[in-house]
C-alpha cells in the first residue's frame, strides 16, 4: 500500500499525516508541489493541512493552481483516492474536485480544539473503521472552515449520503454542520478536522486512527 503526500510551501501537517499513514502500514512518499507527476501506482494521495502559500488570495487558491494539482485532478478523474485535510479540503474545493467552498468561520475566530464529530456515512473507504452515527473526538484548527454550497448541492450531498462527517453541534457556521464531504464516486474525501492529530495515545486521543486503519484494511482487501 502506497500513499503520496503533497507538500506545498506553508504545509505544516505533512509529516504528521505521513506518520499516521505509516503507522497504518502505508509506504509514504512525499511529493513537492512543483512535481509534474505523482509516483506511479500510489493508492492514495494525501493533501495535508497548513497554510499553503500563506493563505494569500484565498485559502488553497494558489496551491490549487500548482503543477501537482493538475496531476491530482487527473488522478481523481481516473477514480483515484484523495484525502484532503483542513487546508487540503480547501485546496480540493478550489480545484473543483469537491463542490462548495470554505468561508471564514462565522464567529471570525480561529478555532483550535478537540471536538465531537458524528460519522455521517460509513459507506466509503475512509469511514469503514467507524459506524454511521458514531461520535468521535477529533481536533480542529482552522480559521476558514465554514462550509458553504448552493442549496441544490447541499441537497445532493445529503441525498447521495456524501456527508462523511458532521460537527456534533454548530461550530463555525458550516451549512448543516458539515465537516467533511465525499466526491460522487466516494473516493475523494475533504474534511476540516485533523484525524492525524488523534492517531496516537500521546496525542490525547486516538479516535482518528480508525480512519487510517480502515483505509489500510480496505486497500489490503482490494
Amino acid at each position: 500500500m502506497r500513499a503520496a503526500i503533497v507538500v506545498f510551501p506553508g504545509s505544516n501537517c505533512d509529516r504528521d499525516l505521513a506518520v499516521a499513514f505509516r503507522a497504518a502500514g502505508f509506504r509514504v512518499e512525499m511529493v513537492w508541489h512543483k512535481d509534474t507527476a505523482l509516483p506511479k501506482g500510489v493508492d492514495i494521495v494525501g493533501i495535508p493541512g497548513g497554510f499553503s502559500f500563506g493563505d494569500y488570495l484565498r485559502c488553497g487558491a494558489i496551491a490549487a493552481n500548482s503543477p501537482i494539482c493538475a496531476e491530482i485532478k487527473t488522478h481523481a478523474e481516473r477514480g483515484g483516492h484523495v484525502l484532503g485535510i483542513c487546508n487540503g479540503f480547501q485546496i480540493l474545493t478550489e480545484t473543483g474536485i469537491l463542490p462548495g467552498a470554505l468561508l471564514r468561520n462565522a464567529g471570525l475566530k480561529y478555532i483550535c480544539r478537540s471536538l465531537p464529530l458524528i460519522v455521517g456515512s460509513s459507506a466509503c473507504v475512509y469511514t469503514s473503521g467507524y459506524e454511521a452515527g458514531q461520535r468521535i473526538d477529533i481536533p480542529v484548527a482552522h480559521h476558514d472552515g465554514n462550509y458553504t454550497a448552493s442549496n441544490e448541492i447541499v441537497m445532493r450531498l445529503k441525498d447521495e449520503d456524501r456527508v462523511a462527517f458532521r460537527y456534533a453541534s454548530p461550530m463555525n457556521g458550516s451549512v448543516d454542520d458539515i465537516a467533511g464531504v465525499l466526491s460522487s464516486n466516494r473516493r475523494v474525501l475533504g474534511m476540516m478536522p485533523h484525524p492525524e492529530r488523534a492517531a496516537e495515545e500521546a496525542h490525547g486521543g486516538t479516535d482518528g486512527r480508525a480512519l487510517f486503519s480502515g483505509l489500510a484494511s480496505m486497500f489490503a482487501a482490494a
Binding site: 468561508l103 471570525l108 458553504t148 457556521g173
Partner: protein, 76 residues
C-alpha cells in the same frame, strides 16, 4: 495599461467580516448602518493591448472563486 478587479462575496453569502465591521461602526456611534460587505481590490499592471477577455479568464481561473464570489473588471 492597468486593470482593476473588484471581488465581492455574492449576495446571499454571509460575510462575517463585513458584519464585524458593521458592529464596530455601531460601537463608534455611527447610526443607521444597514449592512457592510467587505471585498477586495486587485490591481493588475498589464502589457498594452491585453483584452478584458483575458482579465476575465484570470478572474475565473484564480482571482475570484465564483462559487462564492462575484467580480467586476475596470479597464483603466
Amino acid at each position: 495599461m492597468k486593470a482593476r478587479v473588484h471581488v465581492m462575496l455574492k449576495d446571499g453569502v454571509l460575510d462575517p467580516q463585513g458584519e464585524a465591521v458593521r458592529h464596530a461602526l455601531g460601537a463608534l456611534g455611527f447610526e443607521g448602518i444597514r449592512g457592510v460587505r467587505q471585498g477586495k481590490v486587485i490591481e493588475l499592471d498589464l502589457a498594452d493591448g491585453t483584452g478584458e477577455d483575458t482579465v476575465r479568464e484570470m478572474c475565473d481561473k484564480l482571482l475570484a472563486n465564483t462559487v462564492i464570489e462575484s467580480y467586476r473588471i475596470e479597464m483603466l
